[in-house]
């Protein structure tokens, strides 16, 4: 297996509303294993759009996306869901936890879907991740009993549960105060350094981006650096 986790070839995407508009223009890039990459750029430059193409959730584009040298472009909804489940972890700007489940169950859910391990094993792993993130005593609380920073840490634990190839973040600190953003950044940093976890984060926080391994700067749908 090569070192390249994620690769795009000539990615182009149009928005059709209100008029036809090229959001992404012939983007070719790759992310190597263990890298902590941030994508920066002004609002509307297409960075989030790029992330959602890479996440396999948005399939309306031209060009090719390869995850672990496997072509994901053109795969069926079910196969893409399986790829998201097993290979990609997500952290969003808003926590997006399921309010019906407690913290532990929220973390376990993608694992239960993947069914790689037994339920007991998944629970054990979920607890381990929560412990790493300092959240083990909140495990049985409901999401609405947690603070914003705590919710984001639970979301990170959930992203980790299936040992993903890559964790994608869409403004993961955008909704947090300075102290909590630093906390989340430190967790990301620790993940890359200690667990060699690949990370791809869209942000418009220059401080955050400056501290990552590599910065991809976008403007008008193109990568400029």
């Amino acid at each position: 297996m090569s070192d390249i986790v994620l690769e795009t070839k000539g990615l182009t995407k149009y928005f059709y509303e209100p008029t036809k508009f090229k959001v992404l223009d012939n983007i070719t890039m790759s992310v190597n294993h263990g890298e902590f990459v941030s994508i920066v750029g002004k609002s509307g430059c297409g960075k989030s759009t790029l992330l959602y193409l890479l996440s396999t959730m948005d399939t309306d584009y031209e060009g090719e996306i390869l995850i672990h040298e496997e072509l994901v472009t053109g795969q069926s909804d079910n196969d893409l869901a399986r790829i998201r489940n097993g290979k990609i972890g997500f952290v969003f700007q808003f926590h997006y936890l399921l309010s019906e489940y407690n913290v532990l169950k929220n973390v376990m859910l993608p694992g239960l879907k993947l069914q790689q391990y037994s339920e007991a094993e998944i629970e054990h792993r979920a607890m381990e991740h929560l412990k790493t993130l300092g959240m083990e005593d909140q495990a049985l609380k409901m999401p609405n009993q947690l603070s914003g920073g705590q919710k984001q840490r639970v979301a990170i634990a959930r992203a980790l549960i299936n040992n993903p190839l890559i964790i994608m973040g869409d403004e993961p600190t955008g909704n947090l105060d300075k102290r909590n953003s630093d906390l989340v950044f430190d967790i990301f940093k620790e993940l890359t350094q200690e667990y060699n976890q690949t990370l791809l984060v869209v942000t418009h926080d220059p401080d955050f981006a400056a501290r990552t391994n590599r910065i991809i700067t976008m403007e008008d749908g193109k990568i400029i650096v």
Binding site: S48, Y52, S55, M57, D58, D77, N78, L80, A81, R82, R84, N85, G86, F90, F92, Q93, F94, Y96, L97, L98, S99, E100, Y101, L109, P110, L112, K113, L114, Q115, R158, N162, D170
Partner: protein, 418 residues
């Protein structure tokens, strides 16, 4: 697909909206319970009334009607074959009420595979003598076992035992007749036949059909007793009554026997046509009301699921983002609706049975039905099966549209839209 997980998610979504879920399930429960109660009650009544008619009317009856000869001599004449013949003042001819060659006909009918049983009958008008008064009436001479088999005659005997008719010169008289003449079981009644024969018969029972006109005139004896008082031989039979395996064949068989044996026939459907219509209409009404109730319940489920999907957009988006496919999401919402359907449906069956049971205990006494003490209920398994099937079908259909909608939700739109 991991059904356990999907079911688990569905249950959690339901628990979060427990009140709405209960309301939705209650709608189904109410629909099914009413459906079953209504059908059970309606069909109980139908059965009762059908039974009432069936018990009095044979599926096919063979008899001799007093009527003019169908082929008048002038029609048989070669000379006037091509002419239009007008005949006036035709008088009917009494060919005798007895069915000619009845023993052979009965024998042939008994061998017919389509016929359950054959009950011969002698029916004759008589006068009952009470002191100086003469009251006109009818004596039906019946074959006790066949009559019981076909018409459950014992249901209508309020006093006495049908088996006692087998004794010589015994009679069961209608309740109206007994009342008029102040007679009781064990008394002797004097009878004059149309030909003037006089006979004394012992009353062994009182019958009550429930229609005063009939109870005022009808009495019943055995076949042999009636033949004896009429002074006729054992061949003398005025009616042959048939019970068929398949009642729908009655009109066809009636026609067939009419030509085969040269007698008049009448079938159940013709004799009770307006009655059949009543039963059918009642059934249709009860089914229609039940189904409408279930459809209304279905709309309730549809609404609640639709609302739930709007409320749970974020959850659906996150499920999809973390690896649940559109198919999984569709099954989550279908399971939701099926849980409501199954839970509501089963409760509906239980309540339906309960309501039926309650109606079954409400006293319902009527002079026309001496054996009925409470409202009749039909506990046919079929209604319960239809009920639960329909509950499931409506909930699945009601859940399908919202579920498909949920499966098509684009997570990117939701996540980016914040």
């Amino acid at each position: 697909m991991n059904y356990r997980l999907i079911l688990n998610i569905a249950v959690h979504l339901l628990r979060a909206r427990l009140k709405q879920t209960i309301v939705a399930a209650a709608g189904v429960t109410f629909g099914i319970a009413m459906f079953i109660t209504l059908l059970g009650f309606m069909n109980g009544l139908n059965d009762l009334l059908d039974g009432l008619m069936l018990n009095r009317t044979p599926h096919v009856r063979l008899y001799n009607e007093i009527k003019p000869v169908e082929n008048q001599p002038v029609n048989l004449s070669e000379k006037y074959k091509n002419a239009t013949n007008f005949i006036t003042s035709i008088k009917p001819k009494d060919r005798g009420k007895a069915i000619y060659n009845s023993k052979t006909i009965i024998k042939v009918l008994k061998e017919d595979k389509r016929i359950v049983d054959v009950a011969p009958k002698v029916s004759t008008p008589v006068f009952f003598n009470s002191g100086t008064i003469e009251i006109s009436g009818i004596i039906n001479g019946i074959s006790v076992t066949a009559e019981e088999e076909l018409f459950k005659f014992s249901d209508y005997i309020t006093d006495g035992n049908i088996a006692d008719l087998e004794q010589n010169n015994s009679i069961i008289i209608g309740s109206g007749l007994a009342k008029k003449m102040m007679l009781e079981r064990g008394d002797i009644i004097k009878v004059t036949t149309p030909k003037g024969n006089l006979a004394s018969l012992k009353i062994v029972g009182i019958s009550q059909i429930g229609i005063a006109e009939i109870d005022d005139v009808m009495s019943t004896t055995s076949l042999s007793t009636s033949q004896k008082i009429l002074g006729e031989s054992t061949n003398y039979i005025t009616d042959i009554q048939l019970k068929l395996h398949d009642i729908s064949l009655a009109p066809q068989l009636a026609k067939e026997f009419s030509t085969q044996f040269g007698v008049d026939t009448i079938d159940y459907q013709t004799a009770n046509s307006q009655f059949e219509t009543g039963s059918t209409v009642r059934s249709i009404i009860s089914y229609a009301v039940g189904i409408v109730l279930l459809i209304v319940a279905g709309f309730g489920i549809y609404n609640i699921l639709n609302m739930m999907i709007y409320e749970k957009m974020d959850s659906i988006a996150i499920l999809k983002a973390t690896g649940f496919s559109g198919n999984d999401v569709k099954w989550i919402f279908l399971s939701l609706s099926m849980i409501i359907g199954i839970a509501g449906g089963i409760l509906g069956l239980i309540f339906g049975l309960l309501f039926s049971g309650i109606i079954d205990t409400i006293p319902f006494e009527t002079a026309s039905l001496p054996t009925i003490k409470t409202y009749p209920i039909n506990y046919n398994m079929l209604y319960y099966i239809i009920g639960i099937t329909f509950a499931l079908v409506t909930t699945v259909i009601a859940g399908l549209l919202p579920a498909l909608k949920a499966s098509k939700i684009d997570p990117v739109e939701i996540i980016r839209g914040k």
